[in-house]
């Protein structure tokens, strides 16, 4: 089976096992820089500058060692969610008309706004996926803890990461047994009730599993501390990378200001 979060065929050594320009950098630095990157790009609005940001994100993807096509496909999946909203924009925003269908006119302003949102959303999510999504999920948890995220929140996240795959296997077992009993989903009451029972059963089993986990943890003297398995260290290449990216962002902001003045 493939694992839900890493998309790899093996639990460890998926994306996280990659050795590339980005994955060898300090995870804490990657998270902080990604947040700065996202906030900056969301603040940009000139289409030429946003295209620059998109190219920067694509470059990050290229050096991250993530599978190029697969990552872009995931990004495109997000676009299918928002395409509906973007297509509507030219028709709902007043401005210079491009063309008119059935008395409703599409405006250039709306079209540019839609392109702007599309570029921003894609540039940011691509950077997030390549800079943070290329980490092993557990490493992300540890890095967030090192960045002073509340301990309980990190614990909650670690449990979620750990049990997503376990529970998906359970879900697939339940689905298999439903299939064996001749269940075929359709638009009917029987289907919805069966899915409801499926979810209910998953919850019941999850609670029972969590009782066993708690007992096992108590047995081993769990006290609520997170033990960091690896010490994060900020090296010279981390500083160089962070500085280079901030410089690129600075250039984008500068271009934005220049274009706005022009």
């Amino acid at each position: 089976m493939t694992y839900v979060l890493t998309g790899a065929d093996r639990a460890i050594g998926g994306f996280g096992g990659l050795r590339s320009a980005i994955t060898s950098l300090d995870p804490r630095m990657r998270i902080v820089v990604t947040v700065i990157y996202a906030i900056t790009v969301v603040g940009l609005s000139d289409l030429r500058v946003l295209s620059g940001a998109m190219i920067l994100s694509l470059w990050l993807l290229a050096i991250s060692g993530l599978p190029f096509q697969k990552t872009l496909k995931r990004m495109a999946m997000m676009d299918t969610f928002i395409i509906f909203m973007l297509v509507l924009l030219p028709f709902t925003m007043p401005g210079t008309p491009i063309f008119t269908v059935w008395g409703i006119s599409a405006s250039w302003e709306g079209l540019w706004r839609a392109v702007e949102i599309g570029l921003t959303a894609n540039a940011v999510i691509l950077a997030v996926m390549t800079m943070v999504g290329s980490m092993e999920p557990v490493t992300m948890g540890h890095a967030l803890f090192a960045l002073k995220t509340p301990e309980r929140l990190v614990h909650l996240m670690m449990f979620t990461i750990r049990y997503i795959d376990v529970l998906r296997e359970e879900y697939q077992r339940l689905r298999t047994s439903m299939k064996l009993r001749g269940f075929r989903p359709g638009t009917n009451w029987h289907t919805y009730r069966s899915y409801g029972y499926l979810v209910g059963m998953m919850l019941v089993r999850a609670i029972e599993r969590s009782e066993r986990i708690l007992a096992a943890m108590k047995c081993r003297g769990f006290s609520g501390r997170i033990v960091l398995l690896e010490q994060f260290r900020l090296t010279r290449s981390d500083r160089v990378f962070a500085a280079a990216l901030c410089l690129a962002l600075g250039a984008l902001v500068w271009a934005e200001v220049l274009y706005a003045a022009a």
Partner: protein, 205 residues
């Protein structure tokens, strides 16, 4: 239901982030160490449930089940759903980073409200009685989430009003399905493991 980066205005994004931090803090306060394994495993099961696609006519919808999450987890649903959204954004590319706060509030706040309002009704009476109230709660949670998404869009600009209205109308069948599923899930849970909804010492609410 995810809103992406770049669509919302700054006040909405900042307001959402502040509200999300408050909600998460409140949720963590209601989460003693003893309950973290249960909350974590449930958070993971809601994550898996959101990957389930349920057929509706020729198309299909994926489940959100935030109402059910609120009914089971109470205030802890806030951090649990936040974790789910964070993982979805980082590893799947759904949603965005700066809008994480808004998305969390839109999904988790209805969950918590439904949990607080309907939980006493769900745990009382017969299993069928609980299932009916749970079903209503599940539908209400999705309706509230859709409304919250619409409001966040409309607060950001008039040009989104049409999209916001369409989002709401398009989600009416989803509300019905989520309601039915939540009701059925609660019916089963009440029959198989009644203590799930009975407040024991160190309970959720």
């Amino acid at each position: 239901m995810h809103i992406v980066d770049g669509a919302l205005s700054n006040p909405v994004v900042i307001g959402g982030a502040v509200a999300a931090v408050g909600g998460i803090a409140m949720g963590l306060k209601h989460l003693p160490l003893e309950r973290i394994p249960a909350a974590g495993v449930l958070s993971a099961s809601f994550f898996v449930a959101s990957l389930i696609h349920v057929p509706i006519g020729p198309s299909s919808v994926h489940l959100i089940l935030n109402g059910l999450a609120g009914l089971v987890l109470g205030w802890a649903a806030f951090p649990a759903l936040f974790v789910g959204l964070l993982l979805q954004a980082v590893f799947f590319g759904f949603g965005g980073l700066t809008v994480l706060g808004v998305n969390t509030v839109n999904i988790a706040l209805p969950a918590v409200i439904v949990g607080l309002l309907f939980r006493p009704l769900v745990s009382r009476g017969s299993a069928l009685h609980g299932a009916i109230w749970g079903g209503i709660g599940g539908g209400v949670a999705i309706a509230a989430t859709t409304l919250a998404v619409a409001v966040s869009l409309m607060l950001s600009g008039d040009e989104f009003t049409a999209a916001a209205k369409l989002v709401f109308v398009a989600h009416i069948p989803v509300m019905v399905i989520e309601g039915l599923l939540t009701g059925a899930a609660i019916y089963l849970a009440r029959r198989v493991k009644p203590e799930l909804f009975i407040d024991v010492k160190g309970g959720w609410a």
